[in-house]
């Protein structure tokens, strides 16, 4: 049998630092709140670290020999996320987030085992596409659909267990695109025809772009979910570019998207409002109204300085719903430029590792899968951090691993599991 345990020293070494980081974070946050430092603050970190250790031991016991960097990075970021939930959110949410972490760990373990052959995904590509669309539209159904804070993007039963299906759809879309593009990229990568000075691809090749664009715009209209629209379309264009190497596609897609967004902003009040808030947050009628959130976030970022106010020492609670959309602003206010820089560098290492796994993967499907998943993490981080800093209009996407939110956490753990599996396949094929 090949189930020989594998010693994963690098991973274990990095997990020791994760343990220290989470323990110190909780000590500072709870200490600032209760005005004393004691061991009671370490209960939650200990619970979390036992989950982290369980995942490490699961990989060791399975004899898994792939990448050793992604899991500790994901667990480190999730741990900082728990510190921020403790700092920013009502106490009930910490218990929920801890529960979701355990669910996420379970999903990670399941994704490491099922399906046994990862490339089997490629065989059922239209099943994934249809499942993705059904899941995406499910919040529009009566009974299970929910509208929270003006966006109809939730499904749930009863008062608990609200899930955002758009999160899981990201993975299904990446799997679908990877298998679709593996099959059709030769066709799509053919040199475009020339029309005078313009290079245009033959019209049939535009069909998938137009379909995807229509779907994205549909999501924008029906569910008022700007963030998901942006993420889906971004994933699609990036993977199209990765598969074909033709910059025409993303350029064309971007023009489509901007044109669509411009028309939307004219037609729909909620899109127009977002743009107004972005451009003129300090306008008289906005700063205490709809722009209050971003204005407070800008003050938080402005007050950060080099080392910040210290964990537990700032005033991030002045930003409404800070624990979901504005964790980056809150983290920066309390740890300063130094903390924000280290945080972004951690995301960079995570994405870089994902892309390096993609580069080495043995088949186009696995390459596109790993690259698409890594890009998803990178793009989402970019969109929400830039939104926090008012570089682009704010869209409600989560900061991977850090924001409060169960659906996002579970999805991101599955993404990490899939990347680990690609690295494991590569290792078996290429040796090392």
């Amino acid at each position: 049998m090949r189930l020989r345990p594998a010693f994963r020293g690098t991973e274990l070494g990095l997990l020791v630092w994760v343990a220290l980081l989470v323990a110190l974070g909780f000590a500072a946050v709870v200490g600032a709140e209760t005005e004393k430092l004691d061991a009671a603050s370490l209960a939650v970190p200990l619970a979390y670290l036992s989950v982290a250790l369980a995942l490490h031991l699961f990989l060791v016991a399975r004899g898994f020999r792939g990448d050793q960097l992604l899991l500790p990075l994901a667990l480190g970021l999730t741990g900082v996320g728990l510190v921020l939930v403790e700092r920013l959110a009502p106490a009930a949410l910490l218990v929920q987030q801890l529960t979701w972490t355990i669910v996420g760990a379970g999903a990670f373990a399941a994704a490491m085992l099922i399906p046994r052959d990862l490339t089997a995904f490629a065989r059922y590509k239209y099943t994934w596409a249809i499942a993705g669309i059904v899941l995406l539209l499910s919040p529009l159904l009566p009974v299970i659909g929910r509208e929270i804070n003006g966006a109809r993007i939730w499904i749930g039963l009863g008062d608990i267990l609200n899930f955002q299906p758009a999160e899981g759809v990201k993975i299904l879309l990446v799997i679908f695109f990877a298998s679709y593009l593996e099959e059709n990229r030769e066709l799509l990568a053919r040199p475009p025809q020339r029309l005078g000075p313009f290079a245009i691809p033959p019209l049939v090749y535009l069909v998938p772009i137009v379909l995807m664009w229509a779907l994205a715009m549909g999501v924008m209209v029906l569910q008022k979910d700007l963030g998901a629209t942006l993420i889906f379309f971004g994933i699609f264009l990036a993977m199209l570019y990765l598969a074909t190497g033709r910059a025409t596609y993303p350029a064309l897609g971007l023009v489509f998207f901007l044109a669509g967004a411009f028309v939307m902003a004219r037609l729909f009040a909620h899109v127009e409002a977002r743009v107004d808030i972005w451009l003129h947050p300090f306008a008289e009628e906005l700063r205490f109204g709809p722009a209050y959130q971003i204005v407070q976030a800008l003050f938080a970022l402005g007050n950060a300085g080099l080392l910040g106010a210290g964990l537990g020492g700032g005033m991030p609670e002045r930003i409404p719903i800070v624990w979901s959309d504005f964790v980056f602003a809150a983290f920066t206010e309390e740890t300063g430029f130094a903390g924000a820089l280290a945080l972004l560098a951690l995301y960079l290492v995570l994405v870089f590792r994902g892309m390096s796994i993609a580069l080495r993967a043995p088949t186009p499907f696995l390459q596109l899968l790993a690259a698409g998943l890594s890009f998803t993490l990178a793009f989402q981080t970019l969109v929400i951090v830039a939104g926090n800093a008012r570089l682009i209009p704010l869209t409600g996407v989560t900061l991977p691993f850090l924001s409060y939110g169960g659906s996002s956490l579970v999805t991101n753990f599955v993404i990490v599991a899939l990347l680990l599996r690609v690295s494991d396949i590569t290792r078996r094929v290429r040796g090392g």
């Binding site: 990095l14 005005e35 004393k36 990075l73 593996e182 030769e186 080392l307 740890t335 290429r430």
Partner: protein, 146 residues
Amino acid sequence: MEIPFQIALWGVRLAFLLVLYLFLIRAFGALWRALRAEGELAARPAAAYLVVQTSYPQGPRVSERLPLRVVSAIGRDAGNDVVINDEAASARHALIEHSDGAWWVADQGSTNGTLLNGARIARRERLRDGDLVEIGRVGMRFEAAR
């Protein structure tokens, strides 16, 4: 002597930042080592080659040595390890792999088939030094190192 609470709290806060950076540095180090190990692996000489015997005008040069990996995909698509850009070759044509101490060739459901020493193969066949593998209009001699 008791340390004032505020100083202790700031000590913990700064320790958090310090550990954040140490974790980052360790992660960078692990990334660097992983990439270097993978780079060395890629630079290691191949264990076997396909030596081109017959070709077509735009195809690989005759007597060119195409290195094989532990698993090598062969076909017309640019994503293959050995690319044969011939109309008679399928996008994913054949697979050559090293497992259980031997080399094997398997057809991947190609249209025109894979020939081993002149005979079309149905399933995975064992490769021996000097065997002739034909894909499309290209004939290649299998050559194992050592």
